[in-house]
Amino acid sequence: MNVVVCVKQIPDPAAPQALDPATHTLVREGKLILDDSDAYGVEMGLQLAEQSGGGDVTLVSMAPGGETSGLRTALAMGAAKAILVSDAALKGSDALCTAKVLAKAIERAEPDLVLAATESTDGYTGTMPVQLAELLGMPSVTFAKKVSVASGNVSVERQTEAGYDEVVCPLPAVVTVTAGVVEPRYPSFKGIMAAKSKPIEQLTVSELGLDPAGVGANGASQEVVSVVAADDRKAGEIVVDDGEGYARVVDFLDQLKLI
């Protein structure tokens, strides 16, 4: 079974983040890393491909400047190859545009299963995988906390407001996974070395058969009007616990008339 895993390379979320004051897009300077949310899809893909007894995992990603550092991490985990759509025209793309670009790239890999995170850590729009499924003409199951494949169907435990549903769906399909779905492996030294020579096919928007004028900020049909600091909550009183910290909590609960 061939699995495509959609991955995003993002600025390190632990580092300070900022918006570009002119374009209102996230500043993406410095090294990009594999979005932590995507490691679960990569791991799930590797396990499912292995269990099926053949086939492999192809990463599909998009970046305006040819960045590959995050892809190497996922290749080091065990993915066989990557397709990277890289084009300066992609800067400022909205989720629908991203889905259109990724759909074109994914079609080339002819996957049985497409995996993605439920949402990215930096933009968390959370609709791209379903838009992708619709463009690919595939069914989709979102918010998977358990995934298995048998006799041409994917079975998913899908989170719901009340608990979870067991959902079955014929392949090919798009499934979005939560962070609890599997425990991602750490790349081994051997994996890291092997990743350096694994193929990353780089494609431009025109090479995918799309019009560069219709993607990126030009193709987006939404814009940011303004960005202002929130009326933020002020940090309150901070008490270092000396064994009596609980008593301050009791006083606070008293003030609120909760006890």
Binding site: G126, Y164, G180, E223, Y246
Partner: protein
């Protein structure tokens, strides 16, 4: 062109619209004169009274979807209705599991992009502006659509207060289900409800949440006990839900529940963006965490820098003594 008609994707369980549905209907009334609901399920007709009371003049009822996941059939029926000349200016969709599926599918069928994670809306003449918190809510982004209508906004729970307009019951109009073919093949084979006792997490006046700082699953019992002593609901960070300590129904945050209680207690939770967006609206916040640099302290009214495993037993004992 002013904003005339808004559709609200209305989720109904056992004949009762969800609270978020009522919030969206309320907000829709302040954007446009005509508000209509799109709904599905075996019990939509029973909800027509309440949907009307909150502002819907019509409910387009797709009917019982059986065991199909709602995303595809709901979006397909809505797209068909748009194609039949009935074009709304704005479509409001709740940021729920099924709501996000509907929005994604509809976006492609109508070839319109979506704006998600909306926490505020303002109609201003010919346009609608949406508000979003970013970087854990430290900054507010205002956005708008520049393309053709309808504009699809996916709105987070508790962004607006639900208020009745005292309207008459909505007129139920059947909306035919369309054959969507291969994309509509995901089927629910069984549904599992993970029961919890006490007040509902998103309605409780007090929420006590635990995170990784608890160290182990067994220690979550302290969170449950504390919640019980305060008449509140226990909650959790994504980290411990993903670790399997508690069910997903307990999760507070971006991919979980949004809560706005009188008091939120975060115990052993660092306060990642993912968590902050789900609880920052609480009136009062108490945080207990070992790491004095944890982001949770930047929103806490009272922060205790200390080990939850030492502070909580004493706190529980003190509260027991008073009850």
């Amino acid at each position: 062109m002013s904003i005339e008609k808004v559709w609200v994707v209305a989720e109904v369980n056992d004949g009762v619209p969800t609270t978020t549905t009522l919030e969206l209907l309320t907000e829709a009334r302040s954007i446009a004169t005509t508000v209509e609901a799109i709904s599905w399920g075996p019990s939509t007709a029973a909800a027509a009274g309440v949907l009307g009371e909150y502002g819907a003049s019509v409910v387009h009822d797709i009917g019982d979807l059986g065991d199909a996941l709602p995303g595809v059939p709901v979006a397909a029926a809505m797209a068909e209705l748009v194609a039949s000349e009935d074009v709304p200016d704005v479509i409001l969709v709740p940021a729920s599991y099924d709501g996000r599926d509907v929005a994604g599918r509809l976006s492609v069928r109508l070839d319109r992009s979506v704006i998600t994670n909306v926490v505020g809306l303002t109609a201003d003449g010919d346009e609608v502006r949406s508000e979003h918190g970013i970087f854990g809510g430290a900054q507010v982004v205002t956005a708008r659509f520049t393309g053709e209508r309808p504009w699809i906004f996916v709105v987070r729970a508790k962004s607006f207060a639900a208020e009745s307009s005292g309207g008459a019951p909505a007129q139920v109009v059947e909306l035919a289900r369309v054959d969507a073919g291969a994309v509509d093949t995901a089927r629910v084979v069984s549904r599992h409800v993970e029961e919890r006792s006490g007040p509902k997490l998103d309605e409780a006046a007090v929420v006590v949440s635990g995170g990784r700082g608890l160290g182990s699953k067994d220690n979550y019992a302290m969170i449950e006990e504390l919640a019980k002593l305060l008449g509140g609901a226990p909650g959790a960070s994504r980290a411990i839900v993903d670790a399997g300590w508690v069910p997903y129904a307990y999760q507070v945050g971006q991919t979980g529940k949004t809560v706005k209680p009188t008091l939120y207690m975060a115990c052993g939770i660092s306060g990642a963006t993912q968590h902050l967006v789900g609880m920052k609206g609480a009136k009062n916040i108490i945080a207990i965490n070992k790491d004095q640099d944890a982001p949770i302290f930047s929103v806490a009214d009272l922060g205790i820098v200390g080990d939850v495993l030492k502070v909580l037993p004493k706190l529980i004992e003190a509260l027991r003594a008073r009850s």
